[in-house]
Amino acid sequence: MAERRFEWLPVVRWELARVLRRGDFIASVLLTPLLAIGFGWLPSMLAGGGRPVALAVVRVEASGALSPARLADTKSLRWTAPPGDARDLAALERMVREKRVAGAVALAADFADSGRATVLMRASRPGWLEDVRTALRGEARRERAAGLGLDSTALARLDAPLRLQERVATAAGGSRDPQAARAERLVGLALVVLMMAVLFSTISYLMIGISGEKQARVTEVVVSAIRAESWMDGKILAFTLIGLLMALAWAGSLLMLGGALAFSLPVSVRAGSLLVDVAFAILGLYFYNALFAAVLATMQGIESSAKFQGYFFVLPMTPLLFLAPLLRDPEAGWLVAVSQLPPLSPTLLPVRIALGAAQPWEIALALALLALGGWWMRGVAGRIFRLGMLMYGKDPTLPEILRWMRAR
């Protein structure tokens, strides 16, 4: 059967136009970053928007009476005298219970020696508890240093920071600044998360684009005009492009928002590393779209996803199973092997690269296997679609699908 050059191109344009015009797609692209930001920031905004917590601080004399105490305010804590006339610890506790103060700290008379202090709070382990511990450690240090006759200059000398020069010896040879490595890890993980988010967002459009058209009986009209394989090529490419547009929109809006909020962006990320991460994200998106297209080609409609095909849709989540061992020992032989497999490499390789544990040949091989896997999978999707598209009213069995995969 003769194949015209680029006969898949109208399909790409058509699918892009169809999806990009959809109101729900536009809403999803625009609203998702806002929702993500909202879910991230709303709780802290509601909790006071980063204002310091006001806590009462007193010293408990040997007699049990309370006397004023002073602690240095920090970014998160503001120390005050207890309101009214709190004469003893019981009175202070009552104030806390009655919500007249958020919490209170009562330092023992011999706090410098014994380190004893009582923290009064309404709920166990409030968010400010760790800050209080830090403040008390600092105060104890200061009081103990004063007891030893050390002035603030001597204490500053004791506290002078170490000037460690950390270098990460990478598997690829050479070394890297740990801050740059951390930044690259952050970017790598962000791209993986972005790819996953985009993938799961585009599944519904892919479903409409493949099994939905079977139900609308459009299939036969189209595959009489172009090869079924070309049709699937066009769809896979279109939905990969749609995913990339979505990712660009999301990443762009998040970066703009980050810039507006004056977050420091990881500028020390190497261009090569970023390119490799982006390549894994794009090829991963293509591979998974081809895989999903092949799976959807076996289905009569969305209701079929309740059958065995449904398991394929959780496949992108499987790399999560490997994350814990990977973070412990990213150079383990079995992890080097599994991170080469196309379904896993788009997630595992960027993490291993960020940990400095991937050799250049591993990166090259994984990229090549991923590209080949995507290419093979789109062929499989086309064959399954061609052979199964006229099977109305019945889902194919697994042996039938396996036979179609091998067909020419």
Binding site: M1, A2, E7, R18, R217, V218, V221, A225, L390
Partner: protein
């Protein structure tokens, strides 16, 4: 392949499991003709058309388009029986897309699509979604989508389905115009009165095999064995029909008679006459036993030919089955 055939099927077979859907089917379609491809449900028509369109492949035999086994999809148009459109897509965009799929450039497809919408009186619906059109208008849109690119071969499976009589006439005009421009139309439809008016040649398929094919006259000859003679007679009350039947059977053996009582009390005797038979002895035999008031020849419509041929084929199949069962 005959030199004037644009499409030629040579002993094409297709089997689905135990079912022989198409069995050694051969026929050709010429440029500029409407070829009526007929048959009862399940005869194998749609399977054949799908093979012609390269959607499925024959198990045996070959299909040649313009002398080549390689179908040029840009030169064929297809209106399948199982058809649909993108319900949420605009009407004009849908036509343009169908044209582009057949290899038209976007500009040419847009121009052709606009012209077709005007022709179908759907210009004012160009920007509307397909699912806002009536079923008949959607059907017209699909017909336009199948022939927008002026194909050399248009394969139309049930193109009249869902169309009112006026739109059926429009569809027929479109097909005639296509033929006038040199397009070969392979037409499968159950509206036999329309097919009879439209088609130059026919092929009747039953159980995957060709029962007969050719022009309407050739088909009539093949199906009836010749002409149907209608003799209006007045019977003598005492003798009735029996002497006439015996006399006719003596001249033309076999079961070839049908009676009909007319409104004036006379009888119409319908006799299937084999080709080349001299009618004089036959009429003399009738006249010997009844008063002949009129003689006419009847040209059976395609519908009647179709029914007779298919029923005869089914009868033959039942006979064969009972013979096999009886050992």
């Amino acid at each position: 392949m005959p030199p004037d055939s644009l499409l030629e099927l040579e002993r094409v077979c297709k089997r689905f499991g135990d079912l022989q859907a198409v069995d050694a089917l051969s026929f050709g379609v010429r440029a500029g003709e409407v070829f009526g491809f007929l048959g009862p449900n399940g005869a194998g028509k749609t399977t054949t058309l799908r093979m012609v369109m390269g959607i499925t492949r024959p198990d045996e035999g070959r299909i040649l388009f313009d002398g080549s086994a390689d179908l040029d999809r840009g030169r064929v148009g297809y209106l399948p029986e199982e058809r649909g459109l993108y319900p949420d897509a605009p009407v004009l965009d849908t036509l343009i897309y169908l044209g582009e799929l057949r290899g038209m450039r976007a500009g040419a497809a847009r121009q052709a699509a606009r012209a077709w919408l005007e022709r179908l009186e759907l210009t004012d619906r160009a920007g509307h979604k397909v699912n806002t059109l009536s079923r008949g208008n959607q059907q017209k849109l699909q017909l336009a989508g199948a022939v927008l690119h002026r194909p050399a071969l248009a394969v139309l499976d049930e193109p009249f389905s869902g169309l009112d009589p006026l739109n059926q006439e429009l569809a027929m005009r479109i097909m005639r115009e296509l033929c006038a421009q040199g397009t070969a139309v392979l037409l499968s439809a159950h509206q036999l009165d329309l097919v009879e008016r439209l088609a130059d040649r026919f092929l009747l398929l039953s159980r995957g095999r060709a029962l007969f094919g050719g022009t309407l006259e050739e088909v009539r000859r093949a199906a009836t064995g010749g002409a149907d003679l209608v003799v209006r007679v007045e019977l003598t009350a005492r003798a009735g029909r029996d002497p006439v039947e015996r006399a006719v059977t003596t001249v033309i053996p076999g079961d070839r008679l049908e009676w009909e009582t007319l409104g004036d009390g006379r009888q119409a005797l319908e006799i299937a006459v084999p080709p080349g038979r001299d009618l004089a002895p036959l009429l003399a035999a009738v006249a010997a036993h009844a008063v002949v008031h009129g003689v006419d020849t009847q040209r059976l419509p395609l519908h009647e030919l179709y029914v007779r041929a298919v029923e005869s084929d089914r009868g033959a199949r039942r006979t064969l089955a009972s013979e096999v069962a009886g050992g």
